[in-house]
Amino acid sequence: MHSEVRDTLSIVTEEDSVRVRQVTREKAVEAGFNLVAQTKFVTAASELARNTLKWGGGGTVRFEAVDASRGRGLRLVFEDHGPGIPDVELALTDGFSTSSGLGMGLGGAKRLVDEFDIESRVGVGTKVSITMWR
């Protein structure tokens, strides 16, 4: 599999999250996703951008074009150096939130995309990557 970094955006303000949604939409259109796939992917990106900001204390998102035997795709890698998630399984559970959120962000994002990967270490940070294939 080959992947090529296309862009990195920082996520420090709420306006940055809006920008992440816009850029994700542009890349999803470029990648040739249909409207429903675009919408799912942008929605997942929006959930993760918000988590990066709200829980991770800010971070970055990297856009990658991926090329594999199964075809071409688009990958987004969200990374922060925040507090990390003590129990990832629990955090992925629908309805689980450490504040007043609906707690649908992580689990929902996972359902919306083709591939979902999360690595988190307490005190080090969190990295979530999502991939959609064309």
């Binding site: 709420e14 999250s17 949604r21 816009q22 429903v36 929605t43 959930e47 629908d94 609906l102 929902g108």
Partner: protein, 128 residues
């Protein structure tokens, strides 16, 4: 700060969300709408989301909150114009917008509001 406009349309309030809102703007809208309902004594609110090309969990919660707050201020809310791709995505995300009335377009939404208000005044009539 920029604001989402809330228009008065006869007996109803109309909110058309035309931009991708950042979170503070969304929360400001929630507050503005509550104030406007109280101020105008309107009993119906139409929220047009046909321009929104995504609705994530935050926006969904916002819509739900606005409907609940309106209800507490004696107003009915109808959300209109959700794009089909948005509806598909919301269901997969696991969000049902329970407690929020929806209609396909503003005309249907308006009918729904009128019917709800008529039903209400009939009930009041019986109670008297």
């Amino acid at each position: 700060m920029e604001r989402i406009p809330i228009l008065r349309m006869g007996e109803f309030l109309l909110v058309t969300i035309q931009v991708d809102m950042h979170d503070r703007l969304a929360l400001a809208l929630q507050e503005d709408l509550t104030n406007q309902i109280a101020h105008s004594r309107s009993h119906g609110v139409l929220i047009d989301i046909s321009c929104l090309d995504i609705v994530d969990s935050f926006t969904a919660r916002l819509l739900g909150n606005m409907a609940s707050m309106a209800r507490m201020l004696d107003a009915e809310t109808v959300v209109v114009g959700m794009q089909p791709a948005v509806a598909i995505t919301l269901v997969e995300l696991g969000i049902t917008l329970e407690g929020v009335r929806t209609a396909l377009n503003p005309e249907k939404g308006m009918e729904l509001l009128r019917a709800a208000l008529r039903a209400r005044s009939n009930e009041d009539g019986h109670a008297l």
